[in-house]
Symmetry: C2
Subunit: 206 residues, 2 copies
């Protein structure tokens, strides 16, 4: 199994944390994609992942799986270790719901702000910006932080009592927010405490 | 089990088609939400679904599940009938990937065009438009149609040989595209033929 990615990028981080939680990091070969040089937009890479983004999973039979959630679901189903996507239908639905809220409302919102309303990855790559939309998405990210803080006032983790993919996605979203200089408001004390707790997990701190 | 929705809206259509495919429509109580009157933005509805959108699932124990994919995954796991989200890890990953491509690239892109670059649901509801971004998303929708046409040149359905949630999502996306007057280009003959085939399924035609 291969993962095409860039270490440190937000969606690749979700995959790498999921693998570490499952104790499966050593079972994957990572292949660096030169995103800064535009490799993700070449025909050769698009043949693997027409979305032209990282990460992309390559199975041993040559099948390619794009889209981060599809990859992390595959990892969770394939490797032993604690479930990251839930076991009962209700657990799975709650984790999926919270993961999507963290993804759409935080990680993707910060990403859109970064790529559209800041210099992003630079003028060679950011060729189709829309600053007005990017700035609206910054507001969405801040609203989502406040929402997540409220969830964490009542739950140890975003989808209930157990750590899950929803936490991984939100954690990666906050790391991206740091990078894009979208600070967590200081009054969101539940979110800040949860973040410290998650950062101390061996899958992240190690 | 209750579903809060508006019959005929795009994401509610995904849930209703999934239920019909599972033969489970009669096992759900549908509760109409007066979206045109702004009911989805009231405090009472936000207590059920803080995303302030339909559909929202209410379980018999009072748990609320928002986010369309979480709801359709729950339906698929709970009711008998053909699997819509896949059984092996690889099938599930492929369906998830194609479902997300159809959702982000088609249904959500058309939705953003409709709500931001057209009068949408009218001036009382469309209070924060961004026409520049909306028009870019129309281009995304057209590119996704071309991509899906290419997939369907080689596969009977979007995720392979079997009908799945990815087909339901794309079908709902094309219905929304009709409504928003984003026509399928006439040269996309695979997509057009697939759409006729899907429209004839009892879950949709009946």
């Amino acid at each position: 199994m291969k993962i095409y990615d860039v270490e440190g990028f937000p969606n690749p981080a979700r995959v790498r944390i999921a693998l570490a939680e499952k104790g499966a990091t050593e079972r994957v070969e990572f292949v660096h994609v030169d995103v800064m040089g535009g490799e993700h937009r070449t025909e050769a890479f698009r043949a693997k992942n027409p979305d032209a983004v990282v990460p992309c999973l390559e199975l041993d039979d040559g099948t390619h799986i794009g889209q981060c959630n599809a990859i992390t679901e595959y990892i969770d189903a394939t490797f032993d270790g604690p479930s990251l996507t839930g076991q009962t239908a209700t657990e799975r639905a709650r984790i999926s719901m919270m993961n999507t809220r963290a993804e759409a409302g935080l990680l993707n919102a910060v990403s859109t702000y970064f790529h559209h309303a800041t210099p992003g990855l630079g003028p060679d790559l950011e060729t189709d910006q829309c600053a007005e939309w990017g700035n609206k998405q910054r507001d969405v990210a801040l609203k989502t932080m406040a929402y997540l803080d409220g969830v964490l006032a009542e739950n140890a983790y975003l989808a209930g009592d157990s750590f899950s993919m929803a936490d991984i996605t939100a954690f990666a979203g906050l790391s991206f927010a740091d990078f894009a200089k979208v600070d967590i408001p200081a009054n969101l004390t539940n979110l800040i405490a949860w973040r410290e707790k998650v950062a101390a997990r061996p899958s992240i701190a190690a």
